[in-house]
């Protein structure tokens, strides 16, 4: 019985963990390519969730079609936010970039408030109902689908970065932008693409959590700090680390609320994050790098 409870809680933890991982991955990716913290990243989660409500409940579109629409719209959003805004701020100090992105997040949240209004909304469970028995534990199909969609997204991303020419040019541009531009890579374009891809990742995460957490304007904010913990503890700019740390955060969250206390759950996560950084200043998954 105890083992069953443990399995069930672990699986719940992994489900939220992969969401944290998806969001942290986007955050980490922007850091990798620009060296800046983009605190407006979680706005894309909020937009994804709000759009999924509008499409599925408001326009009663098919789930798959709404998913594709969200991907396309967030791609445009990510491109636009870089093209009209962030590319002007890249030469500034990191601190100013960070504060600018925080201010932008505030502005966008107010804009969303005007369009969608302040009330919380429920999105029906559209990812499948019922449960599956696994080692005696009951696992909702919804969580399995959520997990599967996340894995497929990650797989697509992996293929993009390793098999396509543009994906490779994005990697070299984030490694060394000057050399890349000398090799004929259009660095501005790769940066736009970085913002577009990260916005899509956030949007997919928003689409997936909408039925679980409900849609509110604070959705992004409430996930922000945990995703930040995941991205940094995984070693910021190191993409597999962000995903792994996201899973760990989710697991720790659900196990500590199951076995210790749900009130102190977040304290445990944050304290663990600080503790890890005190011992391993570059994150758990990365070796120390010396710069010259």
């Amino acid at each position: 019985m105890n083992l069953i409870y443990f399995v069930q809680q672990s699986f719940n933890g992994l489900t939220t963990g992969i969401i944290y991982g998806l969001i942290a991955l986007g955050f980490s990716m922007v850091y990798q390519s620009l060296g800046c913290l983009n605190f407006s990243h979680t706005v894309s989660v909020m937009i994804g969730a709000l759009l999924s409500y509008t499409f599925i409940v408001g326009f009663s579109l098919h789930v798959g079609i709404s998913f594709l629409l969200i991907v396309v719209l967030l791609c445009i959003y990510g491109w636009a936010v870089n093209h009209f805004f962030f590319r002007y701020f890249l030469n500034m100090s990191k601190l100013i970039f960070m504060l600018v992105s925080i201010s932008l997040a505030g502005v966008l949240q107010q804009v969303a408030l005007i369009f969608w209004g302040p009330e919380a909304r429920a999105v029906p469970n559209m990812l499948g109902s019922g449960t599956i028995q696994f080692m005696g534990a009951l696992i909702p199909v919804q969580n399995l689908v959520l997990f599967g969609v996340s894995l497929l997204t990650l797989f697509a991303l992996l293929l993009f970065f390793n098999r396509t020419k543009f994906g490779l040019s994005m990697r070299i541009a984030s490694e060394d932008p000057e050399a890349a531009s000398l090799m004929g890579v259009n660095v501005e374009k790769t940066r736009s693409a970085t913002f577009a891809i990260t916005a899509v990742l956030g949007g997919i995460a928003g689409f997936l959590v909408a039925p679980l957490y409900g849609v509110t304007l604070n959705l992004g904010q409430s996930l922000a700090l945990k995703m930040f913990v995941a991205a940094v503890v995984g070693g910021i700019g190191f993409l597999p680390g962000a995903l792994g740390a996201g899973l760990l955060v989710g697991l720790l969250e659900s196990l500590s609320s199951a076995y210790i206390s749900s009130g102190w759950r977040d304290v445990i996560i944050f304290a663990a994050g600080i503790g890890v950084l005190a011992v391993r200043p570059m994150g758990i998954f990365r070796k120390a790098v010396t710069k010259h």
């Binding site: 601190l95 201010s103 930040f228």
Partner: protein
């Protein structure tokens, strides 16, 4: 340096006079709030401006200060003045506690995370220790400080009290940053390795800088609690911390006077924009972005410049923004 700090003194005297003459209670309220914020921002200027250590958890220390006063007053009946040294000690202790994990970390993201989550831990602790802090319901009915039979209960008398505290804090900070200690702090910002190589224990000084910043936050909290009269954990979460950092940057994070200026500007600015509520916040955000973009050294960098110099500065800035050179990011 002499002329500049006397210039500030004149500004403060003028501001006090204007408040004294004006009968608008609302402006007095905002000015008091600005003075309280300014004390917390001074802490950010010391830790982030002079020492170069990012601190996104300053309002947690404001909260610790406020809760110390409230708990001592409401539960144990101590007076405001007794609470001051206790709160300073408590916030200093927590500042050291936050400084310790931050010692090894180099680079913005890691420090940003540690300070921000530290603030969140304090917030969650206040939420969960319900018997002690009232949890999410907060604490109500914190009393105004008294001297003898005189109570600082009027808005104006409280305003003067805060200004006195601000001036004291300012001159203490001035003494610190102008002393050899201040030189060590700027040394940490410029090159920690170089400083270690000449035998300075930078760990010790970094912790000290964190403690100083925390105590300043605590003093702001001590003044905040009786002024508002009701404190709840939400008032000290991370968004006010980020607001305090924005104040420091908008005013000019490398100067104490800049920090004070930024605190006053960003406390008054949202109230000046009298549009409907939603549009007001949008406009406020855009104005903050514009100030960050155009004046990276803060509003204080306009001080003592002629109109044409300002215009030159802004036009080079705009050109730099539009050029979008591809630079090495790390």
């Amino acid at each position: 340096m002499k002329t500049k700090s006397s210039g500030l003194l004149i500004c403060i005297v003028l501001a006090v006079l204007v408040i004294a003459i004006s009968f608008d209670r609302y402006i007095t309220f905002l000015a008091t709030l600005s003075a309280i914020n300014a004390i917390a921002v001074l802490g950010i200027v010391v830790i982030s401006g002079y020492t170069g250590q990012l601190n996104l958890g300053q309002s947690a220390f404001v909260g610790i200060g406020a809760y110390t006063v409230a708990i001592m007053g409401l539960k144990y009946g101590f007076s405001f003045w007794v609470a001051i040294p206790v709160a300073a000690g408590v916030t200093g202790f927590f500042g050291i506690l936050m400084g310790i994990p931050a010692l090894k970390l180099k680079g913005g993201p890691y420090l940003a995370l540690v300070t921000q989550t530290f603030g969140e831990i304090i917030y969650l602790a206040i939420m969960n220790l319900e018997d002690f802090t009232g949890g999410p319901f907060g604490m109500l009915g914190i009393e105004y400080p008294k001297i003898g039979s005189f109570t600082f209960s009027g808005l104006k008398s409280y305003f003067y009290l805060c200004i006195v505290f601000l001036v004291i804090c300012y001159f203490v900070c001035r003494r610190i940053v102008d002393s050899s200690l201040g030189l060590v702090f700027t040394g940490i910002r410029e090159s920690e390795d170089a400083e270690q190589s000449i035998g300075i224990n930078t760990m010790y000084y970094k912790i000290m800088a964190f403690a100083i910043a925390a105590v300043l936050g605590g003093i702001a909290g001590i003044l905040y609690a009786p002024f508002i009269g009701y404190i709840s954990p939400d008032q000290f979460r991370w968004s006010p911390s980020l607001l305090l950092v924005s104040m420091a940057i908008v005013g000019g994070i490398n100067s104490l006077r800049g920090g004070i200026l930024g605190a006053f500007v960003l406390t008054f600015l949202p109230e000046m924009l009298r549009l409907t509520d939603q549009y007001r916040l949008i406009l406020y955000g855009l104005l903050v972005i514009a100030m960050l973009a155009l004046l990276p050294d803060g509003l204080i960098s306009l001080y003592g410049k002629s109109w044409s110099e300002v215009r030159n500065m802004l036009s080079t800035r705009i050109r730099a923004l539009r050029s979008r050179k591809i630079t090495q990011t790390r």
